[in-house]
């Protein structure tokens, strides 16, 4: 009996060592640099136009999975449709990682439109527009618009040197800055996502 215990223990230990990978371990796995344009209509924020540039790793994986084994040099309508279907549309369930915080509460986002994929060298890029469920007014208080993945599987951040833009009717009176969002820390509190803060 004792003999058996001696053999069992290292075996258990081995499984433990191998098994204990925290799923949160090596996050993030995908990197996105985004450019954000906040769209106004009649003085209200109504949509976000987003341009996401992916790391080369995700780029080759997405093209491989969505389009096929052959190297893809340019993205035509067929590739665009395949990417939208296989490597984009599911993000609707996650609001395209786009979080919108008016002065009070939170506003839901709708289904993205105008999806367009392109290749910048080895990097895949998506552009699309995410509408808001209803227009929001930034006059009563600042509006925060941040793009981040709560699980930090994907590291989403503003592209270096690219300030967010404001566009459309009523945007001229408003200003936007990128700030760290200390209200919504992710990755066990160690990462503060960046948020565009809009004041009018």
């Amino acid at each position: 009996m004792r003999h058996r215990a001696r053999l069992v223990r290292p075996f258990l230990a081995a499984i433990l060592i191998g098994g204990i990978a925290s799923p949160a371990a090596a996050h993030p796995h995908v990197w996105v640099d985004y450019e954000l344009t906040v769209m106004f209509d009649k003085g209200l924020i109504v949509a976000m136009r987003e341009d996401w540039s992916f790391d080369e790793d995700f780029s080759s994986a997405a093209l491989h999975d969505a389009v096929g084994a052959k190297p893809v040099k340019t993205i035509g309508p067929k590739e665009n449709a395949a990417l939208e279907k296989n490597a984009f549309s599911n993000l609707k369930n996650y609001s395209y990682f786009t979080h919108v915080f008016p002065a009070e509460g939170k506003v839901e986002t709708g289904e993205a439109s105008g999806f367009k994929a392109r290749l910048d060298g080895a990097k895949l890029a998506y552009s699309f527009t995410v509408p808001l469920a209803h227009g929001i007014d930034a006059k009563p208080g600042p509006v925060g618009i941040g793009i981040w993945d709560d699980t930090y599987y994907v590291d989403v951040g503003p592209a270096p040197g690219k300030e967010p833009k404001l566009e459309g009717d009523g945007s001229a009176a408003c200003k936007v800055v990128i700030v760290e969002d200390h209200q919504h820390p992710i990755y066990f509190g160690s990462v503060f996502p960046k948020t565009a803060r809009i004041t009018c």
Binding site: G18, S60, S95, V191
Partner: protein, 328 residues
Amino acid sequence: MVRRFVILIGLALMLAWGAAAPAQAADLFGKSDEPAAAPVAKPIMLPAPLRPILAAVVDIQTRMNAAMRAQLLKAREGQSFKPALIIVLFAFLYGVAHAVGPGHGKVVIGSYFLTRRARVMQGVAMSATAAMVQALSAIALVGIPALLFEFSSAAILDRAAAIEVVSYGAIVVIGLWMAYGVITGRKHSHGPEGDHDHHDHDHGHDHVAKHKAKRQDVWRMLATGAAVGLRPCSGAILVLLFSLANDIVLIGILATFAMAVGVAITVTAVSLASLGLHRAATAMGGRTKRIAETGYSAVALGGALLIALFGILELVGVWSGALTPGAG
């Protein structure tokens, strides 16, 4: 006996492989194709002083990842050996940093060596074998589907995720089993790692088994490695997928092993630190044998329960959506 273990491990691996049915399909963003779970009211937070450390590790990893990808793309152009050498070096450094973050068995390996008697070589061997077989299993995980031409990055990451979930279950069971062993008084059979310094007990059995034990050491290490293969290293999977997609498989495999060496160094450091702490504590409290034995049992029980609790937390985390399975 050992052979039975090897078969058992093989079965576990096959199970995990098969279990990766599309039940929990994750896309390339690590997301299932169902509406997002309601946001967790209170996300799990690290103690404040540790947060910047994790943030710094993430930052280093991010930079290394970017640099490694750039070199891999250069290697694809195939001009010289230099990019390949840089990749191997990067992969090694990445392995060291990668294993500092949560995961790679540090909590459990730490708990194990902190609460049990063990030899230094066992700490080194366990950590090193663990890292090496993690690399081998990553190569199998990516290579087998690639050879069968059913290669899809999302499916491969899915499979890795399923293997992870299986292993959390195993951790809970094992933690509880270890605890049961301590409670029912198996503490006197110190296990293969026991220092034989308690000769007031009947240990005649030990001497008979000595030669056998030596041979079993080798087997034990193989079994350790195989069991560790339950959960391949995600960093390696990503490098392999990328190199496969870019037709530079050999460099990917080289980088995978270099990464494993890096991971092994970090995990070994943790196991040796735990082992040292355990010895220091035993040396201090070990004056009276009776107290030492009681203390040893209590500590071992605590360690076993901690391991079980850790497994439960990971499972709850995955199920509640606080943690994303998928190539941790």
